[in-house]
Amino acid sequence: MSEQQTITPAEPAPASETAAPASRRFDARALLSGSVGRNLGLILALAALFAVGAITAGDRFTAIDNILVILRLASIIGVISIGMTFVIIGGGIDLSVGSVMGLASVVATLSAVQAAAESSTWVVMVFVALAVGLAAGFINGFVIAYGKVVAFMATLAMLVAARGLAEILANRQTQVVRVPEFQQFMNLDLLGIDMLIWIFILVAGAGWILLNRTTFGRRTVAVGGNREAARLAGVAVRRHTMYLYALAGLTAGIAAIMILGRTTAGTSTHGTLYELDAIAAVVVGGTLLAGGRGTITGTVFGVLIFATLTNVFTQNNLSTSVQAVAKGVIIVVAVLLQQRFSGQNTRSH
């Protein structure tokens, strides 16, 4: 049989209708409803924060060094937020990423693991952290997809259990990284930008490609947009759901490596409440909590907005409590702006 069947039309379609799609490319409104328009609120918010920072803190804020501080601050939450974006677009939620990250940092710095790393290569620590994240993610995904447990509950259970397991393994001690090659790698500086930021850029880039250019991304949108339609169209919905949580776990593992590089120690308290920051960044970035719609670009902006906000407050010596209030306001305002700009394009009929 041929690649596809075509059916000859009973009568030719009117010419005016077939010509319609051509005009799409030159339409200025189409551009505005595209990626620029969708993220307009976020771009404006980030620009406003920069303006506030530049006015109140002057050169201290706009210095290249400070911009790097902001990016470094954004990088770890940023990596977790990329994984979270996939889970949320796929119609789920993952509350466990922060504590999985803590667990991965603890397991990767166990003396046995470090001894193995010292006697062979530092990459062992990286693999262990990734494996722990991936395994926790697969457990989440399996329980949710095949055990039919609500994602909120399944990942809440993982949040509690992973944190507890990390405490047991670390005996509530801080485990210092003793592998110099690992530290050397994490302290590498390419083109004046340090490793943490490079990892964030790589993960965000890979996430963008995965979501927009691959069958994995297409399945994610289908599963989150209409689960039943995806199932009846032959998409392996359950398997894909499991993969989404495994991906979120993997990003938690990457984040664990990053926090080890930054703090030079693994502890069970790493990543506490990171899940909430990540969810906030994803939602502020325009991803629908109900699933089916969202962008990596938006999430990156969301992360940058929160990191910039923190930096502006620190530069002005304001307390973290004031900062928390401002964060809350930002979340609401950003979501309102999102609805204003995207609502006209999708909801008009």
């Binding site: 049989m1 596809q4 075509t6 000859t8």
Partner: protein, 494 residues
């Protein structure tokens, strides 16, 4: 209303439509899906503001900039998607938006009493005002919706396809209520696909086609049905069902279902479908006909029996195995089971096949758009823009997306569950012709429809089903609608 125009995102939904409604009449609005009926009533209800044109109410020109404006004038609307809140009681729903309250405290006693009076007026005094609406049937929800419309000082009620969710007995009651309303001087705008309903209830008819008025206020009694169809479609539909093509006896058996059963739903269902053959399942709602299709497809896990496609046995309960073997299902609920409403047409068309166009896991949007565009022109899908979200299409065109999905997926066995539900007369004829041509191309087709006439008109072979059992398997040309109904009655009684 005169000269109403409205465009959305560059699409002209309404183009100079005129409509005149007098007190106490039932004014029917007829038109195919996408003709602009919904846009027209939303304009009248104050949801959309017209780009041009005027609305004159009782001799005065009015601007309806919000639904509240329309309600204040006495225009109430009952939307197609029932707009009641399941978690609230009957009375709370009726007074939703204008609660009876003193200083912010609701007066539930008074509300319940007034709700009861409204329900009595609608002939449903037995419906308790304190009952939660979520537990009511679709028909009763509609009564609640109608009571809400009457709770305002209403002079015009717009009903958007009210009969779509009702069975024939409930439709009779609806008509009785409509007649009482018009006797009281209230005008009713009634929107429907069903021509026979217009005959029964309508006083005058206006017809829309492609956003223009093709007829305005024709008296129902003097207008023949053929004329209405011509006004709606722009052509005369002499023969709705395309002629059957005889299936050669040696044609390959593509689908072979043996002793299929699903505990408590149906049992011992056996049939075969040859290349080029259309098999119809005729039965009433609840007979198990949709469940049979879903089980063949693997969306439900069979408890007994086998399904073979081209001789190869399918794994039970595996949709993926079915799809890979060349089966496609167009589900009963198009929107909730078939489409990604916010995604573009082309992604909906390739939802089952995008992985095939992909290379190394990377999707090939260019190729997907190309095949979708080919299908759009082959199936005459409108609007012909592969990037338009599926949500914005009419029912008939959404149905074509689902057909296109399986056409691009090398499907050889098509299972169609209610392919013309919510599709109007003109688009139906197109879909019938499409199904016929698919069979002529060598596909095997199984069709389920609640309209027995449709099954008999399209199918070569008919399975009559009642209570989850196949009562009879006959050639479609050797049976008629009466005989099918007789069989069902006998079968159910036995």
């Amino acid at each position: 209303m005169s000269g109403i125009s409205k465009a959305f995102s560059g699409v002209q939904a309404l183009n100079g439509v005129d409509l005149e409604i007098v007190a106490g009449e039932v004014h029917c609005i007829l038109g195919q899906n996408g003709a602009g009926k919904s846009t027209l009533i939303k304009t009248l209800a104050g949801v959309h503001a017209p780009d041009s044109g005027t609305i004159v109410w009782n001799g005065e020109e009015v601007a309806l900039s919000s639904p509240q404006d329309a309600i204040d004038l006495g225009i109430a609307t009952m939307y197609q998607e029932l707009d009641v809140v399941d978690g609230l009681t009957v009375a709370e729903n009726i007074f939703l938006g204008h609660e009876l309250a003193v200083g912010g405290f609701t007066r539930s006693g008074e509300a319940n009493a007034r709700a009861r009076r409204l329900l009595e007026r609608l002939g449903h005094g037995t419906l308790p005002p304190t009952r939660e609406v979520g537990s009511l049937s679709a028909a009763n929800k509609q009564i609640v919706s109608m009571a809400r419309a009457l709770s305002h000082d209403t002079k015009l009620i717009i009903m958007d396809e009210p009969s779509a969710v009702l069975d024939s007995e409930e439709v009779k009651n609806l008509f009785r209520v409509v007649r009482e309303l018009t006797t009281a001087g209230i005008a009713v705008v009634y929107i429907t696909h069903r021509l026979e309903e217009i005959r029964e209830i309508g006083d005058r008819i206006s017809v829309l086609k492609d956003g223009r008025s093709t007829a305005n206020g024709l008296p129902v009694g003097d207008t023949p049905t053929s004329e209405l169809i011509r006004l709606m479609t722009g052509r005369s539909v002499a023969n709705v069902f395309p002629p059957a093509v005889p299936v050669p006896g040696d044609a390959e058996v593509l689908l072979d279902v043996r002793d299929l059963g699903l505990d408590g739903v149906f049992e011992d269902v056996s049939f075969t479908v040859r290349a080029g053959e259309i098999v119809g399942l005729a039965g009433l709602v609840g007979s198990g006909r949709s469940e049979i299709l879903e089980t063949v497809y693997g969306a439900r896990r069979a408890t007994s029996g086998t399904v073979r496609v081209k001789g190869r046995q399918l794994r039970r309960g595996s949709v993926r195995d079915a799809v890979r073997s060349g089966i496609g299902l167009s589900p009963e609920e198009r929107k909730s089971q078939g489409l990604l409403l916010d995604e573009p047409i082309y992604q909906n068309v390739t939802l089952s096949s995008f992985a095939r166009y992909a290379r190394g896991g990377f999707v090939n949007e260019k190729a997907e758009r190309r095949v979708a565009t080919e299908q759009i022109s082959a199936l005459q899908l409108r609007p012909a823009d592969p990037d338009r979200p599926a949500r914005t299409l009419s029912g008939g065109n959404q149905q074509k997306i689902l057909l296109a999905r399986w056409l691009v997926n090398r499907t050889s066995v098509l299972l169609l569950d209610e392919p013309t539900r919510g599709v109007d007369v003109g688009a139906r004829a197109e879909i019938y012709a499409l199904i016929r041509r698919l069979a002529a191309n060598g596909d095997a087709v199984v069709i389920v429809s609640s309209e027995i006439e449709e099954v008999l008109g399209l199918a070569d072979t008919v399975l009559v089903i009642a209570d989850g059992r196949v009562l009879s398997t006959v050639q479609a040309d050797q049976i008629d609608e009466h005989r099918v109904l007789d069989l069902i009655m006998e079968g159910t009684a036995a």
